[in-house]
Symmetry: C2
DNA sequence: ACGAGATACCTCGCCTGTCAAGGTACTTCG
DNA sequence: CGAAGTACCTTGACAGGCGAGGTATCTCGT
């Protein structure tokens, strides 16, 4: 991974919620999507992903259900809840603020 | 603090190095500067700051010396080394890449 | 003279998120 | 039949941030 884990620490929840805003999905697919969108420069490790799902479900931001898998491995689908949408907007705002502040702090010239 | 710790995890080193690029400084002052630049929206905790100094000094990115404090509390000044400047540029590049990827990942529309 | 608050440093131990490593189970294709 | 892909999950280690606590000096108001 070119982007180290610590650099996006705290942002995984936001990333997952953003993906689920576009429709229900499941772990494996979300991971692939993230990898594709970032052109392979960033990918969540499975352990991180499933820990995040658990955390998000416990906090009521997402809900899950087993897809009826006629064929293939069973999939656990996730849906974003109203609370999850709120969380997404909050995290998005935080990200924009973080970006702004970081850009100021990292600028070496005044 | 309005910006949670995890959001800047992994970025503290870059922030400190960026500050030192503008000239030698010491812990207390760096912290004040960060607070000022971010309009008080973000401040490193002292424990975090001094841990980072130790880490950066051990990895050869910064060097320290005691300022001769005729009056007032003694100050430990830090200087950025050549290795530290390299690290800054690398971290800066990483930050720009992280920003780009995060913006893509957090966008809910396609 | 004294206490409060600012300046200035530091350490210990907890918490939390990431991840390496390991496991399970099913399907497809050569 | 075996390898590779799909798909899930857990455990334990690790590292960084930080709450809480400590030390020492100086300044300023009362």
């Amino acid at each position: 991974m070119s982007i180290a884990g610590d650099l996006i620490r705290g942002h995984t929840d936001a990333i997952i919620l953003a993906r689920l805003l576009r429709g229900d999905s499941y772990g494996y697919e979300i991971n692939k999507t993230i990898s594709t969108i970032s052109s392979g420069r960033f990918e969540l490790k499975e352990a991180t992903l499933y820990t995040a799902f658990k955390r998000l479900e416990e906090s009521g931001c997402i809900a899950s259900y087993w897809g009826d898998s006629g064929a293939g491995a069973r999939r656990r689908y996730y849906t974003i809840t109203a609370a999850g949408k709120d969380a997404y907007h909050r995290l998005m705002t935080e990200w924009l603020e973080t970006k702004e502040i970081m850009d100021k702090l990292l600028r070496m010239e005044e």
